[in-house]
């Protein structure tokens, strides 16, 4: 096993799957010659040629729209949107088409498409380069939303996404791209979509996080008897894993870097309230960004949830 960062793990997953399945084709801005602005697709153009690694015009709606046509035709396109904040111009394609094609055609056409995009703050980039609006895409029943939190899971989840018969939005936490290194098996392995994982066992409180916040949560809970659940897939999310842990601990803290109102934490909190209310010993707390636009670098530390805020929430629920 090699020690890889997330960029390398994703690159390996893409290269392995392209070698295994000639239906897999990459398209996006700067994904070919440049290897992607984060170098996630580095080397793939040389290895697989320009027919399978397409440098497209600057055209987010066109990229996702074209990928839908390719998928319906029988290919397995992987579209890269350079930053999540630019996926908004492809939102109609994702919402009105990718997630509904199977339904609208009553199964005659399907859309096995993966849209990869880096997301999240803390990289000192210009505006719209640090968005975390995953919840926008989750109220979209035909679109799976997957968020790895480290290299091992990134590879296994991406391989599963590439083989999924329906469209998947694959959010890559930009801040963690090169921050974490993990042992990543060289061979083929998949991690089931829709399954959370137990990132850390505990018994006094359940902390639920995903993607970019997972690393921060794990750093914050050292002195607590906290069970940490890494959702990995947001849509559909692993209701059973969440409820199972909550029923054991009776306390819940949800951490996400998106703004609070209508963030994905709201869905989790509502589900816990509906289905495990009588097991709760404390209010469900959310640690999130405030309800303001994502700021530029100088204010990012005041925007993203901090270890202190996470610990304060833990202290509060543990008082009950």
């Amino acid at each position: 096993m090699a020690l890889l960062n997330m960029v390398q793990a994703i690159n390996q997953a893409l290269g392995d799957e392209m070698a295994r399945d000639d239906r897999v084709v990459l398209l996006g801005e700067d994904v070919g010659r440049d290897g992607g602005v984060f170098r996630v697709t580095e080397g793939l153009l040389d290895r697989f040629g320009a027919e399978r690694v397409l440098d497209t015009p600057l055209s987010e709606s066109g990229i996702v729209g074209a990928a839908i046509g390719m998928a319906a035709y029988g290919l397995r396109p992987v579209a890269e949107i350079q930053f999540m904040g630019f996926a908004y111009s492809a939102f109609e394609q994702l919402y009105a088409h990718a997630s509904r094609l199977r339904s609208r055609s009553r199964g005659r056409f399907t859309c096995p498409l993966v849209v990869r995009t880096p997301y999240g703050g803390g990289i000192k980039a210009p505006e719209l380069h640090e968005e975390s609006t995953e919840a926008l895409f989750c109220q979209n029943s035909g679109l799976k939303v997957v968020v790895p939190s480290g290299p091992y899971h990134a590879k296994g989840l991406l391989l599963a996404a590439l083989r999924d018969p329906d469209p998947v939005l694959f959010l890559e936490p930009t801040r963690l791209y090169r921050l974490l290194r993990e042992e990543v098996p060289e061979g083929d392995y998949t991690l089931e979509l829709g399954r959370a994982r137990l990132a850390r066992p505990g018994s006094a409180v359940t902390v639920i996080a995903w993607g970019s916040m997972l690393e921060r949560v794990l750093k914050s809970v050292g002195n607590y008897d906290a069970e940490v659940i890494d959702l990995l897939t947001l849509n559909p999310f692993d209701v059973e894993a969440v409820l199972g842990s909550v029923k054991k601990t009776g306390r819940v803290v949800i951490v996400h870097e998106a703004a609070r109102t209508c963030g994905f934490g709201a869905e989790i909190a509502a589900t816990v309230a509906e289905e495990a209310m009588l097991h709760l010993r404390a209010p469900i707390l959310r640690v999130t960004a405030p309800d303001v636009p994502v700021p530029l670098a100088k204010l990012m530390d005041r925007y993203l949830p901090t270890p202190e805020q996470i610990q304060a929430a833990l202290d509060e629920v543990l008082q009950y």
Binding site: L54, G65, A71, L101, R104, D166
Partner: protein, 351 residues
Amino acid sequence: MSEEILASFEVRRLGILDETGKADEALMPLLSDAEIWHMYQSMVLARTFDERAVALQREGRLGTYPPIMGQEAAQVGSALALSPADWVFPSFREMGVHLTLGYPAAQLFQYWAGDERGQKSPERLNIFPFCVAVGSQIPHAVGAALAVRYRRDPVAVVAYFGDGATSKGDFHEGLNMAGVFRLPVVFICQNNQWAISVPLKAQTATVSLAQKAIAYGFEGIQVDGNDPFAVYRATRQALDKARAGAGPTFIECLTYRMADHTTADDAGRYRSPEEVAVWRARDPILRLERFMALRGLWSEQAGVEAKARSTETIDAAVQEMEAIPPPAAAELFEATVATLSRRQAGQMKGR
């Protein structure tokens, strides 16, 4: 330093059949009498379907419906140039294309009655579901053309849309990408001159829509959209070019929406009866009848018989549609995703 002309352009306009029914023999496509009759019968079928759909809507037996009346030449003429293996990406006003390609009329009625199962294209055809979000199907056609080229399949891809779609971003993104990659795709714009209440001159500042293609690096041609021979010829040439790997073509079929935008619209609020009367006189079916009469292929009696055949077909399709049981509640979940999530599976059971 000097100033020079970097580029200039011209736009071709193709018309073969004039309003009196006289054809330019030099441009006339090679069609046998039987093929011309098939073209005529297909246009009559499209008109008959359309009249019935509007009537059924008025009786509460269909939902909101967008009439195709006046656009039969653009739809039938182009569809006759296609082969069943070609991939078609329609907007929502192409029922004449569907019918000409052999899509079951009962399914078209079923869809407009509010049953999505009508959108399930038969396996022998590759027709995408109707696209209601204007212009957003154009990139899908471009993607399919990328796949066709990658697979080296001997098929072409056609996207249909209207004049309003040419103002959308996806039109630009799609045509631009098609030009950059020189893809085997034909863009067929039915310019019916009205996007609900917005007339063509308020939709674009250019003298034609066809010329927009020039900015994407490929040919755009305007054809008389009420002339089925011109539409057929232009489509045929564009498809041959696509299949030969010579890149995309944009065909603007200049036609007219003789009816309201939909059955929920009242075009009398925004356009004059005089304008409509001018275009009613240019009815594509009348024009083809005049041509066929001059050739001795058509008579009043033959026209009545053609209409009767179409009426019989449509009667049977309506009967078939109305005999289909309404979708069961489980259809809400059927075919939405390959595997329902546990939450969806619970909701399907009413939890």
